[in-house]
């Protein structure tokens, strides 16, 4: 992959494409591990009459129905699989995403309590940015949106870039350790 980044030509490109293809195949087979893991956990709960066994039955039945409908009838538009996905799975995912709004409100309530000088600065900055991003902010003071934009474009971006530079160096260092076999803790080594 490193060669493919710094080099060009059919030989280098074909090696990189082949490596990506292998990765896809391995990931496909690894999905079987996931299925086995789910079945083992939930079948075990059914066998031992775990107090939440009903959820396990629901999960196993839903997994079987989705798998069989996809394999037997296909996954194209208008098929049973597609209908189940679009009318059950997708609305449930949207519901989960919408809950995020309430969680942001509760997290913001805790974060913006002025318990120290730093929290007071955070609170004031948050109020400025929030007011600057709504039409009412401009009615209160015409330059409020400009202040909010400056906070988002200058100090906020500067901090984010600092974090990104550090994180990129950390990732490169970690990658090098893994490539050289120095870092083995992720495989249980010491």
């Amino acid at each position: 992959m490193i060669l493919a980044f710094f080099g060009r030509g059919s030989f280098v490109d074909s090696i990189a494409e082949e490596a990506l293809l292998w990765q896809t195949i391995v990931a496909g087979f690894a999905l079987l591990l996931g299925v086995v893991s789910i079945v083992r956990v939930h079948w075990g709960r059914l066998r031992t009459r775990h107090r939440d066994w009903f959820y396990s039955v629901t999960l196993l039945v839903c997994m079987a129905v989705m798998s069989v409908s996809g394999v037997v009838f296909g996954i194209g538009s208008g098929t049973l699989f597609d209908n189940l996905f679009m009318n059950i799975q997708a609305p449930m995912m949207s519901t989960m995403f919408s809950i995020l709004a309430f969680f942001i409100a509760s997290a913001a309530y805790r974060a913006f309590r002025a318990r120290s000088a730093q929290s007071a600065i955070l609170l004031l900055t948050a109020i400025l940015v929030m007011l600057g991003r709504i039409p009412m902010g401009q009615l209160i003071y015409q330059h409020l949106p400009d202040w909010a934009n400056w906070i988002m474009i200058v100090p906020s971006v500067a901090v984010q870039r600092g974090i990104l530079i550090g994180a990129a160096l950390g990732a490169a260092s970690m990658s090098l350790r893994v490539i050289l076999g120095i870092e083995r803790t992720y495989l249980g080594g010491s």
């Binding site: 080099g7 989960m96 509760s106």
Partner: protein, 305 residues
């Protein structure tokens, strides 16, 4: 900020070796820089090497040299200091709390796949957490989003339990595959937190929108929460919802901090030196733009294709 590292004294022979290696690297870097001349690069533009990416290659070579150099120094026994990371130090405390309360420990190695370096960093911390939970006979729950991290996490936890001689504590529920989709995963993990009430929750790795969905449920359940990610967009959520947060590079430093392995600590030192060099380039760039000195030079050298 990174865990700053500080080297101790070194003998003269080591200093000579360092000078020799440093000069050799300078010569190599100068040779590569000479290839920047537009005529030479243009002549072999049609070749197999992407000369427009030469600056990236020089950076990679320099960075690799610094890392390897400081690893070598660490192997020679030069003392290295790593500043304390409260989030990592709190792991033992959190597991101890879970043991006292008789509740499980929840560990999430991020929601990225195994090709993401943050996932590997998360798995490194998992190895340590699994060792501690195995030692204190505390239940561990590791729900994962993708199959490849499932295999890696299972192996990490199994090795930790073998090392502590308690493989009988392992169950299929310890490391389990949950879902291949982010919001389904959040729903399952939220349910797990509310039903099993873990006393400690550790989130280490790459996270996207599900970070707050999970961390807020953990916060509401009263669990002590430790998070670490290199995603700037998710850091505010973790800082608001968790007791301790590892920011950016601290996540990658965690495995070195935990293991105290000299070679891993050495790589942190190399990383810090590189950061100083980048800071100098940033300062030079700011001065250059402010006073109009050599803007074209910096634009040419730092231009990325």
């Amino acid at each position: 900020m990174t865990p700053a590292s500080k080297a101790g004294t070194r003998p003269d022979s080591r200093r000579r070796h360092f000078l020799r290696d440093f000069v050799a690297t300078l010569i190599a870097a100068s040779s590569l820089m000479s290839l920047f001349s537009s005529e030479f690069a243009g002549a072999i533009q049609a070749g197999v090497f992407r000369f427009e990416r030469m600056n990236a290659l020089i950076l990679v070579i320099l960075f690799s040299f610094l890392i390897l150099w400081y690893i070598r120094r660490a192997q020679r026994g030069v003392g290295l200091y790593v500043r304390p990371l409260p989030g990592i130090s709190a792991v033992d405390e959190a597991v101890g709390r879970a043991t006292e309360m008789g509740r499980p420990v929840l560990f999430i190695p991020g929601t990225g796949d195994l090709d993401n370096v943050q996932t590997i960093a998360g798995l490194s911390v998992l190895g340590r957490v699994a060792r501690v939970t195995a030692r204190y006979n505390t239940p561990l729950r590791v729900p994962v989003l993708y199959p490849l991290p499932l295999a890696a996490a299972s192996e990490t936890v199994r090795e930790a339990y073998i090392a502590e001689g308690v493989t009988d504590q392992l169950s299929p529920e310890t490391v389990q595959y949950v879902a291949g989709e982010s919001f389904s995963y959040s729903a399952r993990v939220g349910g797990l937190i509310l039903r099993e009430r873990p006393a400690a929750a550790v989130y280490m790795g790459q996270f996207t929108a599900e970070s707050l969905l999970i961390a807020e449920v953990g916060q509401a359940s009263g669990a002590i929460q430790i998070a670490g990610t290199a995603e700037p967009e998710q850091l505010p959520f973790f800082i608001a919802a968790c007791d301790y947060t590892l920011i950016g590079e601290e996540l990658y430093a965690a495995s070195a901090y935990l293991s105290r392995e000299p070679r891993l600590l050495g790589s942190l030192k190399g990383q810090d030196v590189m950061k100083v060099l980048i800071a100098l380039v940033v300062v030079a760039g700011v001065l250059s733009v402010t006073f109009g000195w050599g803007i074209d030079f910096w634009a040419h050298v730092l231009h990325a294709e």
